[in-house]
Amino acid sequence: MNGTLTQQMVHISVQHYLVVAAILFCIGLYGVTASRNLIKVLMSIELLLNAVNLNFIAFSKYINPEAAGAGGALTGQMVAIFVITVAAAEAGVGLAIALNVFKHFKTMDIDKLHLMKW
């Protein structure tokens, strides 16, 4: 990026979106690691996936269509669609497992799930 700071701030380029996606990714990562509730962890995972989606779609707008993959300029969006699909499926199954955990352990506290301890 060149030009003055204002110019950089006004003219949105791919880097802006990438930085936003990075921030979102790190927030999601923090959530996965530091949340003690299982459902909160699952929600944070969705955040991670969304950050990735943003990345792909940002690239799909700014990339050279010849340099992009098989789908030309829309490659990123295609990948993002599939990510959404899989994320939804995973959310469903994950919640089903979480329900089972609750049935078994009577708690959603991850810290209590340490059967693989030394």
Partner: protein
């Protein structure tokens, strides 16, 4: 959860801001910039709130807000079909799914336990100072040679449809299989054991 006046105010303002944004994109030349900044900041605050807030129902709704802002960003990026899909699926289904999960596990309104401060601090340091700074450095430092801003693709949906049945046919079919598996799997896992 009771919707207090403060909550109503906040949510109201947020939604109006969203509406304004959508208008401004069409009306003003700098609509893109304004839209980008407002949407990003909202999204990031909502995400941070989601992680930090102690009541899990509020977390779930803040997550829905994140999804909505994300949809808005997709519109700014000219990915109209995906914006619709995002809002339909994520904000409309996944977030509700989480709410249902909270309901079935009786976590709503419950004061959730937290990790120790030291653990959270460690995570914060490594994730923020470590990973975030590295990623930002990676992204911001370089000159991304991607070619000049290309012309935006107009007819998104038909193009995507074409691609689904030509280049991406196989992933399309597999995706449907995945969805079927998820459906069956979720039912199987979560049902009551037959007596």
């Amino acid at each position: 959860m009771t919707l207090r006046f403060a909550d109503k105010l906040v949510f109201g303002l947020l939604f109006s801001a969203a509406f304004l944004l959508l208008i401004s994109i069409l009306l003003f030349n700098h609509g893109e910039t304004v839209a980008f900044y407002v949407l990003s900041i909202t999204m990031i605050s909502a995400a941070m709130g989601m992680v930090v807030v102690r009541d899990i129902i509020r977390s779930a709704f803040l997550l829905a807000l994140t999804f909505l802002c994300m949809g808005g960003l997709y519109v700014v990026l000219n990915a109209t079909f995906l914006a619709a899909a995002q809002i339909l699926i994520y904000a409309g289904a996944v977030a509700i799914l989480f709410v249902f999960g909270v309901m079935l596990t009786h976590q709503g309104g419950v004061d959730l336990p937290e990790h120790t401060f030291e653990f959270k601090l460690m995570t914060l340091i490594f994730v923020v100072c470590g990973l975030l700074l590295l990623l930002v450095r990676a992204v911001w430092g370089g000159m991304w040679r991607l070619g000049a801003d290309p012309m935006p693709v107009e007819n998104n949906i038909s193009k995507i449809g074409e691609l689904f049945f030509s280049t991406y046919l196989l992933p399309f079919e597999i995706a449907s299989v995945i969805l079927l598996m998820a459906l069956m799997g979720a039912i199987l896992i979560a049902r009551k054991e037959p007596a």
